[in-house]
């Protein structure tokens, strides 16, 4: 028979763990510095917005007003940045090769003449396709500019013939939650989820592996301390660190990156605690598999960083993934937490629309905690 849990013992473990963290400034630094660095790198470095596409122009028809008017459409757009004009292909090839330009636009000698004569005026666009995603988007921008130019051209032609403006549908978009379509708003909650997952799993797995490595676990398992007491005791300090990291993330997100926070802070803390419980348990599980600190830390990073980065919807939209990979994302807890974080930050969601995700987080936490205790007990006996 297993007697009930003893709070005194849990607190003894937690207290010991706090002292050890305090004595090891590196681990404490890890827990505080890593989140800040990750937020800075991802917040500033990982912009998914594509604007100021670097473009080089060769206007062979430079003497005509028409071609210069046409180019104005590019010069005045925030999506393009014309880095230079040239009069030969050599420069264009060099600019595309060395990456100083992504696009090269060549206006042929007869551009204005073609337009005047009413035939199709050819334009050449050269694209650096080595970053296919950005190239596709940049080509889309060019297409939009050219289409708009054609529409205006058509309208003025009609007007010159006294026919008045052409009929057309007029789309007026309004973007909710992130009106500026600022990708940073979208990224910061993802970075927070990633940080909590990594730090929680990493630190707990290291601290338990350390006890195995140094032989102190051997002594502990001979005392009346029970597996759940030991695990909960070890959780407490890392729980606190996890919440500190959350606070760092929210504060930096709001005040450094200007991400709004529309939801409830209470919900944020409660739901984050659920996520943390699962992540901490995962750390304990890992340390039961890997007895050395080195192996534990590698496993912790591998099993948290990569799935959270690639399969949570943090950067790559889940609906774009192949079906099998989409199925795998259901096993990544950050997937649910991310929906919650984005909902809280940007939409001000309440529990009414976040129940599904919350339930998945509860399942994740309970399952992982149970598995951690089982795995730990099995390893001891």
């Amino acid at each position: 028979m297993m007697p009930a849990m003893n709070i005194k013992r849990i607190m003894a473990i937690a207290n010991k763990e706090f002292i050890q963290i305090k004595r090891d400034p590196r681990s404490l630094g890890l827990a505080i510095v890593i989140p800040i660095v990750l937020l800075l790198i991802f917040g500033y470095g990982l912009s998914l917005d594509i604007d100021k596409v670097r473009t080089v122009v060769w206007n062979q028809d430079g003497s005509s007003q028409v071609s210069r008017d046409f180019l104005l459409n590019f010069e005045n757009s925030k999506y393009f940045k014309i880095i230079g004009y040239t009069d030969n292909y050599r420069d264009i090839v060099r600019a595309l090769n060395n990456g100083s330009s992504m696009l090269a636009l060549v206006i042929p000698k007869d551009f204005s003449r073609y337009l005047r004569s009413g035939s199709k005026a050819p334009l050449q666009l050269l694209v650096d396709g080595s970053d296919s995603n950005t190239a596709t988007i940049a080509m889309g921008y060019v297409k939009t500019v050219v289409t708009q130019y054609n529409v205006n051209l058509f309208a003025s032609t009609l007007q010159q013939q006294g026919l008045g403006p052409p009929k057309k549908a007029d789309l007026r978009s309004r973007v909710w939650y992130n009106p500026g379509l600022n990708s940073r708003w979208f990224i910061v909650p993802g970075v927070i989820a990633m940080i909590i997952m990594i730090i929680a799993a990493l630190l707990t797995s290291i601290c338990v592996a350390r006890e195995w490595e140094r032989g102190t676990m051997e002594q502990l398992v001979s005392t009346p301390v029970k597996a759940p007491e030991l695990i909960i005791g070890k959780f407490i300090p890392y729980f606190v660190i996890g919440l500190i990291d959350l606070a760092i993330g929210v504060i930096m997100g709001r005040f450094l990156f200007g991400v709004p926070f529309e939801g409830s802070y209470l919900l944020l803390v409660i739901l984050s605690m659920l996520f943390l419980t699962g992540a901490l348990s995962q750390g304990i599980m890992i340390s039961s598999i890997a007895r050395t600190q080195l192996l534990a830390s590698q496993l912790a990073i591998l099993t948290t960083f990569i799935p959270t980065m690639l399969l949570s919807g943090f950067i790559y939209p889940i609906f774009n993934m192949p079906k099998a990979v989409q199925a795998a994302t259901y096993l990544v807890p950050a997937r649910y937490y991310l929906v919650i974080l984005r909902g809280l930050f940007l939409k001000g969601n309440g529990m009414d629309v976040m129940w599904d995700e919350a339930v998945f987080l509860i399942i994740f936490a309970v399952l992982m905690f149970g598995l951690a205790i089982r795995k730990f007990k099995k390893k001891v006996a």
Partner: protein, 320 residues
């Protein structure tokens, strides 16, 4: 308290077995330890000593067999056992990054020592470990002997009636070892039961009774005296002769001699019967024309007993 403790039996095991997969670490062993005894559990590394001690301490569950420790069942009442015993593992596993006092207080809380007694137990332990001047030193900075005594102090902070020590003296110097054994004897004199594993045969002389274990099997049990007289079937002759190492092989070929080994500059010969062997040796040296030698019957040391028992075991299990 249970009936067993009333009868003065601290530990009792019957047909105890532990298997790890196909490997049998402990093979059906039986023994009893009386209260207040210093009970030695002897054997070479890998013999199954630590596995046995872990089963007795409620860390491992036996594959089969039964037993009680402090009157509690080793299979069903592991948590009860843990509350009533002290266990010191091989590595004196304290937290190096905690101070002496923090380590002591940590184990006090883990063992549920009442709050109003914690200060007193802390003093007790510091006194036992002679660490009065190092209360606030980080444990990692202490030398081996201090760490060992502190580990012992932490393991018995809850005043257990049985203390299990797994290789308590491995890796410490001889003076520290002697010092440690005097602490162990003192605790036994206060009525504590001490169960100690070791592979140092000289230390085993300190035990009241002992078990010898080899390949997971019990090969002998008794007091040191019984081991050396009743259990040791052979006799030992000490041969002192200049250049002893040159005659070692030839002597071992003589028929009344079972085997020979060099002990320092002398030969220890295990023989079936001392008188016959002495005669054979006399003839041997006479043939060689050597006069400056002596042959004396000596008392077997525990080491001799153990080596002899192991050789018998190996001979019996050859080819298996």
């Amino acid at each position: 308290m249970s009936p067993d403790t009333n009868k003065g039996i601290a530990v009792k095991v019957k047909d105890l077995e532990k298997k790890f997969g196909d490997f049998t670490a402990v093979n059906h062993i039986n023994f009893e330890v009386k209260q207040g005894e210093i009970f030695g559990f002897l054997g070479p590394n890998g013999a199954g000593k630590s596995t046995t001690i872990r089963m007795l301490c409620g860390i491992y569950t036996p594959t089969s067999g039964s037993g009680t420790v402090a009157g509690y069942d080793i299979i069903k009442e592991q948590y009860k056992i843990k509350e009533h015993i002290g266990y010191m593992s091989q590595k004196f596993s304290l937290y190096d990054d905690l101070t002496v006092e923090e380590n002591i207080d940590f184990y006090s809380r883990i063992y549920n020592v009442p709050k109003n007694e914690m200060a007193q137990r802390r003093e007790e332990t510091i006194k036992l470990a002679e660490l009065e001047d190092f209360r606030r030193a980080l444990t990692g900075t202490l030398s081996g002997g201090w760490k060992q005594r502190l580990a012992l102090g932490c393991a018995i902070i809850h005043h257990p009636s049985i203390i299990f020590l797994d290789e308590p003296t491995s890796g410490v110097d001889p003076i520290t070892r002697a010092n440690f054994w005097s602490i162990i004897k003192q605790m036994a004199s206060q009525g504590k039961t001490i169960f100690v594993t070791t592979h140092y045969m000289d230390e085993a002389e300190n035990c009241n009774r002992m078990v010898m274990i080899y390949h997971g099997t019990m090969i002998a049990m008794g007091s040191p005296e019984e081991m050396k007289t009743e259990i040791m079937k052979n006799e030992i002759l000490e041969i002192i002769v200049p250049g002893a190492e040159h005659y070692l092989d030839e002597i071992s070929q003589l028929s009344p001699i079972k085997e020979t080994a060099l002990f320092g500059v002398n030969i220890h010969a295990v023989v079936y019967e001392a008188n016959k062997a002495s005669e054979a040796l006399k003839d041997f040296f006479a043939k060689k024309g050597i006069t400056g030698y002596s042959v004396n019957k000596i008392k077997a040391s525990l080491e001799d007993v153990f080596v002899s028992l192991i050789e018998n075991y190996d001979a019996e299990h050859k080819g298996k």
